[in-house]
Amino acid sequence: MPVKKGNSHYQFLAKKWTDRHRDLQSKIFTKHEESFKWFADNSKQLVVGSLAGIMLLTTPVLDKIPQAFSSGSAQVAQTIDKKVFLIYDLRKVLPSDVRALTPDEEKDVTTVLSRNFDFSIKAELEGKRLNTTYGIIGAEQHLARFPGDNMFTHFKNADDAQKYWSSGMAPGLGAWRYFTDASDALGVLTQEDIDREKYYIAVQTFLAPGFDSNTKEYTDFFKYRKMLVVNPQNGKAIVADIADAGPSPWTGKQLGGSPEVMSYLERFDGAQKGAVLYFFIDDPNDTIPLGPVNL
């Protein structure tokens, strides 16, 4: 929105009150630094994963800043963690309860995500959509990638083993069975196979509108389909692929994440479970890598 010529009173007040607010915040963090640091270290489940995110505690969601003003403040804006902006933007458009988004809400969320990520993000792709794009995520186990894959063959290095061992291996296979059919998979397991298991999610494909009437077409569509999964409370995002179907509706959860996905998003299961956004990525040429996305 262009600022009218001569409305220097607006520019004056906006600058003055922005500066005042920044000074106040700075004063608060300096005075109570110890408490905020404690909170940042102990609140993974509550809201934020970084000290920058703590700023949200002392700032209610601001209304849209007129463009002419925000461009004048670009230098200030650039110094702030981009995730904070994403958190702000999503807070403005997401409902307070976790439920399927209305078409308008979904459109707003798509706009926010598309603005922050450099790829095409869609709630509906090729005429297909999931039962929801906003749901509670639960923890899944590691999946066997090839016949004979087990906890001792699964990890690339000792660090990964130490970090993700406790999740264990799922007793059954993923929705599309093994990630590679090769019997001597240790020799031919590709990086793509490894990543597809490492960054997989399980979604309720069976609840997708239209699934029952065209199961084969839908199953083929969902197989290893890339999705952007975002924790709206800390701004962390990951490109994941659909490799399993679930969880059952009675669990109260709408999707599941591999141990690696859950760890990166800082999401947990049980009493501490939380919500994520998950949207299709339109990547016909398969150029977008699976894994964490840096903002």
């Binding site: 009173h9 607006y10 005042r20 106040l24 109570h32 408490s35 601001l62």
Partner: protein, 115 residues
């Protein structure tokens, strides 16, 4: 105030908004300024409250604040801070005084640029 907080019932900002309405502002500009005012009030209240709490109570307060359980936050603060409502009101009033001064200055600027 657009957003509800544990102290919302103590806020009275009509005196600032009346003065703001005397300025020639677009709807977006007005909303932006109101948001900034809200953000300033929020920070002033948080600072006031944190300054009155012990180390342990600060932690409880921050957790309550993030959970957005305003009633719980208020009850906890009330049990820990004497004359809580008076202290918060005073912090808001002090800030409002400054904000009103700013608006008056802006009005003056506006008149100067129009003359």
């Amino acid at each position: 105030m657009k957003h509800k907080f544990f102290y919302t019932h103590l806020i009275q900002i009509t005196d600032v908004t009346i003065r703001l309405s005397e300025l020639d502002l677009t709807e977006d500009e007005k909303n932006h300024l109101l948001s900034l005012m809200e953000a300033n009030i929020h920070s002033a209240v948080i600072d006031t409250v944190l300054s009155e709490l012990s180390k342990e109570d600060k932690k409880i307060f921050l957790q309550n604040l993030v959970s957005e359980n305003h009633e719980k936050t208020w009850e906890h603060l009330k049990s820990r801070i004497e004359k809580l409502d008076v202290k918060i009101t005073k912090a808001i009033e002090n800030l409002k005084e400054d904000l009103i001064k700013d608006v008056l200055e802006a009005q003056k600027l506006s008149k100067e640029s129009n003359s």
